[in-house]
């Protein structure tokens, strides 16, 4: 990398306009080039010295600008608010200003409220999905007079297929255990008969 290009990139870097990959190239160059390191140091000194010397604005100038602002508002027919009425808009108050009028700290109430709303939304959404009403409407569904929808028929078919698959798996297990599937399943002969007493209420 040429020194002039490196110095251009140093200026861009200070302005925050340098991509990361170019910065790495610049760092490599600076590690090898004493002249550019000196240039960089003097550039920094120049920046600091320049910025240190800006004097404050006189109160009279500031007042003239505010007077012009009042005059412009009056020309537009906008009523000028009394001084101190909007102290919350001063630069130091920042984003907490709206909450300060209510004597509440910022971020105290809106975050839990947002979280509660999200949880409620999830619960309602989940409930609606799990208790999907039929096409005939909620009344028919409650009275049991609804007909199966296409969605429910699809679920039934899938359940039947699952049953067949499970039966197939149990047949395979019997084959592995040398039990002929056509033979009746072994029965526990000494199985005691269960007697149930009738309960008199």
């Amino acid at each position: 990398m040429k020194c002039k290009l490196a110095q251009y990139q140093l200026m861009l870097d200070q302005a925050g306009e340098q991509p990361a990959w170019q910065r790495r190239r610049l760092e490599r160059h600076l590690s090898r080039c004493a002249a550019c390191r000196a240039w960089s140091a003097e550039w920094q000194a120049l920046t600091l010295a320049t910025r240190a010397a800006t004097p404050p604005l006189t109160a009279a100038t500031r007042q003239r600008i505010l007077d012009a602002g009042r005059h412009a508002l009056a020309e537009q027919g906008v009523p000028v608010q009394a001084e101190g009425a909007n102290a919350h808009l001063s630069p130091s108050s920042g984003r907490a200003s709206r909450f300060r009028r209510l004597d509440l700290p910022a971020f105290t109430y809106w975050r839990p409220a947002l979280a509660a709303a999200a949880v409620l939304l999830l619960l309602v959404g989940g409930f609606r999905l799990s208790t999907r009403p039929p096409a005939g409407g909620i009344v028919n569904w409650l009275t049991g007079s609804h007909r199966n929808t296409a969605w429910e028929e699809g679920v039934d078919q899938q359940l039947e297929q699952m049953g067949e698959t499970l039966a197939g798996i149990s047949r395979d297990i019997l084959v592995i255990r040398n039990v002929t599937p056509d033979e009746p399943l072994p029965v526990w002969k000494d199985q005691p008969e269960l007697e149930m007493e009738e309960q008199v209420i």
């Binding site: 800006t54 604005l57 100038t61 608010q81 984003r95």
Partner: protein, 193 residues
Amino acid sequence: MGQPEKKWIAAYRRGDVEALGSLVEHYRRPLFGFILRMTDSVADAEDVFQEVWFRAIRHLDSYREKKFLSWLFRIARNLLIDRARRAKLIVPLSGTDMEATPWEARLASPAPGPDRLTQGHDLAPRIEAALKRLPREQREVFALRMEGGLPFKEIARLQETSINTALARMHYAVTKLRQELKKDFKDYSGARS
């Protein structure tokens, strides 16, 4: 436009003059610093600064740019050019030979005023004197970057040129300042270390 600017401008439009004060204070340092570098004295700089705000207040409804500060810099730059043009019209009546000098070179005199020499860091008045000897475009890039904190992309847009030209102008300016302030830089570095 950032959030505080929006809020202050909206509040001012509703009649809150204090919000205008906040806006002026928020942009005082970059804007006033830039104008100071481009004028002869603090008094001149204050005149231009307040004129920038007078114009901004008058044309606040027509403000459409993304960045409020860039808009203020544009107004300031136009004002500074107008002042230099007016100076050009007045100067021939005084019978001097300044007509031959381009207006850019007469935007500010080469030497800082006495009020400027007595303030700030020791190095600052020397930088200022050296800056006055730079061509206007180079000084403008230097002031917009160092005082205004504008990125080179924005400076190029303001000067209606390419980013490479803006970088080259800055590089020339820094190179000339380095030559003129060689001894001061050594003292400054020694004092800081």
